[in-house]
């Protein structure tokens, strides 16, 4: 009650202070706006460190696979030990990805193989940079492609009618990642708990008053929006969150971050783009096979993604989860029971509108002459084709040429 009083009288004071009506509208009433219509949501998950595509989505039907990986290959489906979960008679999921299998069966999960960046780089940094900027081999691109998408959609005429929510793009990371860097506002938070003013109630009000009075400049404007956003999140009461439909998130940081993305979605704060990343994929040594190091990473990854999907339930009709990794790993295992940096990799697309139940991408084969530079899985799908299709078909971006300059997506993959 008191806050309302504050706002009303605060607004009155601002009028008499001669601030512009639009500034006033933004600051005083923004939090009362509810974004009623549920829009489309994209959740991007980055596996940083180059996840081993060949053991994630296993080409058990390719005769060369087992020759290249004598001790770390995932056994053929039906083998007596833990083995690949068959998808289509040729590909199978790593057994640790079992939590995702039901979504394949329901036609919601679409793995994409031999996909990635056309850049020849095998540097984690460069490859992540290119995947996030959306401009392979061009370093000077200042912004990320997801932010370019937000900015293009954000310069809207309807902004006068509908104040955009501050939670339109949220990254569950400490810093804004490259993919979301750019002119459109993005909130970075390591947890929903962190999105609060760490002061007593009366100090919070004093701080709010400091930002709602004085000059009508960018700092005051952003400050007023900050307090609106804090209130908006509090009204949504994410602290009382209980996952639904029996979803069980892993206790890992990644699992907890995905749970908080679900919280924000269900709080209807207007989330349109969510981002999280997870490391531990750079398996040069002792990567393991059906069990071991990589299996443990995949198990956490799959459990978290499956929990998110389960938890969102019917909402998955409007949600697409897109996973990516900067490149794949060498086809042949190395001398340390691991794999070194490679070229093409694999992605997952998961959602109610996804035409799943099919592995996308042309398979280039693993025979020596079929490998990229004689050693790595060759690339048959440019990652930008996938991103552009998601932006177009799911988010409704009309023209993707500004998202991916100098790139023509080519034939439609038909993912959505």
């Amino acid at each position: 009650m008191q806050r309302r009083v504050f706002l009303r009288s605060g607004a009155f004071a601002l009028v008499t202070l001669g601030l512009s009506p639009s500034f006033l509208r933004r600051t005083a009433f923004a939090h009362e706006l509810r974004l009623g219509a549920r829009g489309k949501i994209l959740i991007v998950l980055f596996q940083r460190g180059a996840a081993d595509a060949l053991n994630m989505v296993v080409p058990h039907g390719d005769a060369d696979y087992y020759g290249l990986r004598p001790t770390i290959a995932i056994p053929r489906p039906g083998a007596r030990t833990e083995s690949a979960l068959d998808l289509d008679g040729f590909f199978g999921l790593h057994p640790a990805l079992a939590p995702l299998r039901p979504f394949w069966e329901r036609g919601m999960l679409a793995p994409i193989h031999a996909v990635g960046s056309p850049s020849a780089t095998r540097s984690h940094f460069d490859a992540q940079d290119y995947m996030e900027s959306g401009t392979p081999d061009l370093k000077s691109t200042p912004d990320g492609w997801l932010n370019r998408y937000l900015a293009a959609r954000g310069t809207c005429a309807e902004c006068d009618a509908k104040t955009p929510t501050p939670f339109r793009a949220v990254t569950m990371t400490e810093q804004t990642p490259r993919i979301l860097t750019g002119p459109a506002p993005v909130i970075a938070m390591s947890s929903v708990d962190d999105f609060t003013i760490r002061a007593s109630g009366s100090d919070v009000e004093r701080l709010e008053a400091l930002y709602r009075t004085g000059r009508a400049d960018i700092i005051h404007g952003a400050g007023a929006e900050t307090f609106d956003a804090v209130k908006m999140l509090r009204a949504a009461n994410p602290q009382q969150y209980r996952p639904e439909h029996g979803a069980g998130y892993p206790r890992s940081q990644f699992g907890q971050r995905l749970m908080q993305i679900a919280q924000l979605i269900k709080a209807d704060v207007g989330l349109e783009v969510g981002f999280a990343d997870v490391g531990g994929w750079d398996t040069h040594v002792n990567q393991g096979g059906a069990t071991g190091q990589l299996a443990n990473r995949l198990s956490d990854f799959a459990a978290a993604v499956a929990a998110l999907t389960t938890d969102l339930g019917d909402r998955m009709g409007d949600v697409v989860i897109l996973t990516m990794t900067e490149f794949g790993r060498m086809a042949r295992q190395n001398g340390n029971g691991g794999t070194d940096h490679g070229h093409a990799g694999a992605m997952f697309l998961l959602g109610g509108a996804v035409k799943g139940g099919k592995v996308y991408g042309r398979w280039p084969g693993l025979a020596r002459e079929q490998l990229y530079e004689g050693r790595d899985l060759a690339l048959t799908t440019d990652f930008r084709s996938v991103f552009a299709e998601v932006a177009r078909e799911h988010l409704g971006a009309g023209d993707t040429s500004s998202l991916f300059p100098r790139f023509s997506p080519g034939e439609r993959l038909g993912l959505l």
Binding site: A13, T181, R198, I218, T226
Partner: protein, 596 residues
């Protein structure tokens, strides 16, 4: 507390609100008598202005010192850092041993975990091996952490403030990303040997030092840029020359490495060439073509590293160099040359009028305004050309100009997270923080030091730093600092703390505004700090409605579950401040403190 004061305060604010100009009115202290050259800014403003622009904000006593010496005198002194006695370097060296080490020594002493793993060379690592890899990974993080600690500490404590501002400026202009492969082993030498010695020197010297630095050669991949198949190399030219009995030009060292080159031959890499023109010198509209980029890249083929993964230094390899003829920005580079090609390109771009304008604009943006006046940029660019790129003279032109001391420039810049944290610590009279804590806070506010990925560096404009999440974190930072969460910067370090701690609230507010907001706060800010309560909330039925009597919860919870405080992140810790600490926390979180 203070509930009874609410009504008169509100009356005052509402009354003020009726006057049309009130919103921009600033409460100013009286002018001192000190004679400073007549400028648009008042004498007091000039003092604060130079401390906010040529330094990272005022420490207690700084304003008096600058006023006593005279603003112009102080500027002249800061432009000659070598004449200023400063011991911060020695003080840091004692606690941060990596700062003085060479890159190869760093690599030997703090090897990256993959090297440690590779040395084990086993199919199955034991638990002890894994522990060793983990330990070495932790140790190797010191290399970057100590640079981050030192960067904050120098900015806080160095007497050579302008030098630190310029080092920060050039490190951002010539940015590298410490997270790329072994890059972190190169950055200590980069700052020590390429950036700092030339921060106020000749631009050409700076550019050359950067071009040959392992940090830049590795970051922008020039080390692996090689002549395209089928073109003549400098090595081949030499053999031809020898057959004809011509004495070959002296060779670069490391002949053995030439026979067995450690690079993967992939041909030309244009990354460095492109950024050299676009970001380091001419600027994106500087008048170059894609063909210029290709030819600049060809000129720099062979500028490489001796064993980059082992942190070897710069070497020119004739076998990698494209010795064909090239034209760069209309100037011909003859065939059959070697390292001179790159040197000549640096000469051309360092003296180019577009470079003069680009650097002048960027410096004026840093020191004066996000959109600096064209008149000033013209003069600064003219100085650049007249003095053959003497950075000190370009900076002097800018910081002694009428435009610099204009009202429009005053408090016009938004602080970057680094500037925010450092200026707060300086205002607090902080001791050197030899822990990574304050650098971590800078990262938390969105500016992890030495970790900007893209080659364009951190934004120089204010709007890029200000958004919803940023303000929240900035406010929490102010609260955390006032709550004593940053080592060495507890509020009782502030010299006036003891004296004001028991004073009446108005005196405390005056003291805090003088100490932390440069004596300037809007009328509203002063009222809000003084009242200790929201002056706009007029309709409280009972005192408790105004939040004035009930004991405050530890965090703003309003029925929400208590927020768990996490030990490592000071910004996540709830701060229940009162008295003078509260006023300091509010002032640091206020809009006024976000500007410089």
């Amino acid at each position: 507390m203070l509930s009874l004061r609410t009504v008169p305060v509100v009356a005052a604010v509402v009354g003020l609100a009726c006057a049309p100009t009130t919103a921009r009115d600033i409460a100013r202290p009286s002018e001192p008598a000190a004679a400073v050259e007549a400028r648009e800014q008042t004498a007091d403003q000039q003092v604060r202005h130079v401390l906010n622009r040529l330094a990272f904000g005022a420490r207690p006593g700084d304003a008096e010192r600058v006023r006593g010496m005279g603003v112009d005198q102080w500027i002249a002194m800061q432009l000659e850092p070598s004449r200023i006695r400063d011991t911060v370097g020695e003080r840091l060296a004692a606690g941060l041993p990596t700062l003085a080490m060479s890159s190869p020594d760093l690599l030997t002493r703090y090897p990256p975990p993959q090297v440690v793993r590779a040395q084990m060379r086993r199919a199955d690592m034991s638990a002890a091996d894994s522990a060793e890899v983990r330990r070495s990974a932790q140790e190797s993080r010191r290399v970057l952490a100590e640079m981050q600690i030192a960067k904050v500490a120098r900015a806080v404590a160095s007497e050579r403030q302008l030098e630190e501002v310029m080092v920060d400026f050039w490190e951002n202009h010539f940015t590298v990303f410490a997270g790329k492969g072994p890059e972190r082993y190169f950055i200590a030498a980069y700052e020590r040997e390429a950036i700092r010695p030339h921060a106020l020197g000749k631009f050409r010297d700076l550019l050359g030092a950067v071009a040959k630095s392992p940090a830049m050669l590795f970051y922008l991949d020039n080390w692996q840029s090689a002549v395209e198949e089928g073109r003549p190399t400098a090595d081949a030219q030499r053999r031809v020359a020898r057959r004809r009995g011509v004495r070959p030009a002296p060779r670069a060292p490391a002949q053995s490495a030439v026979r067995n080159p450690p690079y993967r031959r992939r041909g030309l890499n244009e990354n460095y060439a492109r950024e050299l023109l676009e970001l380091h010198t001419l600027g994106v509209d500087g008048g170059y073509t894609q063909q210029d980029i290709v030819n600049v890249a060809r000129a720099f083929t062979g500028w490489t590293l001796e064993q980059p993964r082992r942190s070897g230094g710069f070497v020119f390899r004739p076998a990698m160099h494209d010795a064909g003829e090239k034209t760069v920005l209309g100037q011909r580079l003859g065939a059959g040359r070697g390292i001179e090609d790159g040197e000549q390109v640096l000469d051309i771009v360092a003296s180019h009028p577009s470079t003069a304008r680009f650097i002048a604009t960027k410096l004026a943006r840093r020191f004066v305004n996000d959109d600096p006046p064209a008149s000033l940029v013209d003069r600064a660019a003219a100085t650049f050309l007249r003095t053959s790129g003497d950075i000190r003279e370009v900076v002097r032109t800018i910081v002694t100009s009428e435009e610099f001391f204009s009202s429009a420039a005053y408090r016009a810049k938004v602080k970057s997270p680094f500037e925010l944290v450092v200026s707060a610590m300086r205002a607090m009279n902080a001791a050197l923080d030899m822990t990574p804590r304050s650098a971590q806070v800078v990262a938390r506010l969105g500016q992890p030091l030495f970790l900007h990925q893209a080659p364009n560096g951190w934004p120089e404009r204010g709007d890029a730093w200000i958004n919803t999440g940023a303000i929240l974190n900035r406010i929490n930072f102010g609260l955390a600092l006032a709550g004593g969460a940053i080592p060495g910067a507890r509020p009782d370090r502030w010299p006036r703390f003891a004296e004001l701690d028991r004073a009446e609230r108005p005196a405390q507010v005056d003291g805090v505004i003088a100490g932390f907001l440069g004596g300037e706060a809007s009328v509203e800010t002063r009222k809000i700090l003084e009242a200790g309560v929201n002056p706009l909330a007029r309709d409280c039925g009972t005192p408790s409605d105004c939040g004035t009597t009930a004991p405050e919860p530890a965090v703003m919870d309003d029925g929400m579950a208590p927020v768990r405080g996490r030990g490592r992140d000071p910004l996540s810790r709830p701060q229940n401040l009162d008295g003078l600490r509260e006023i300091i926390g509010l002032a640091l979180g206020a809009p006024e403190f976000q500007r410089r």
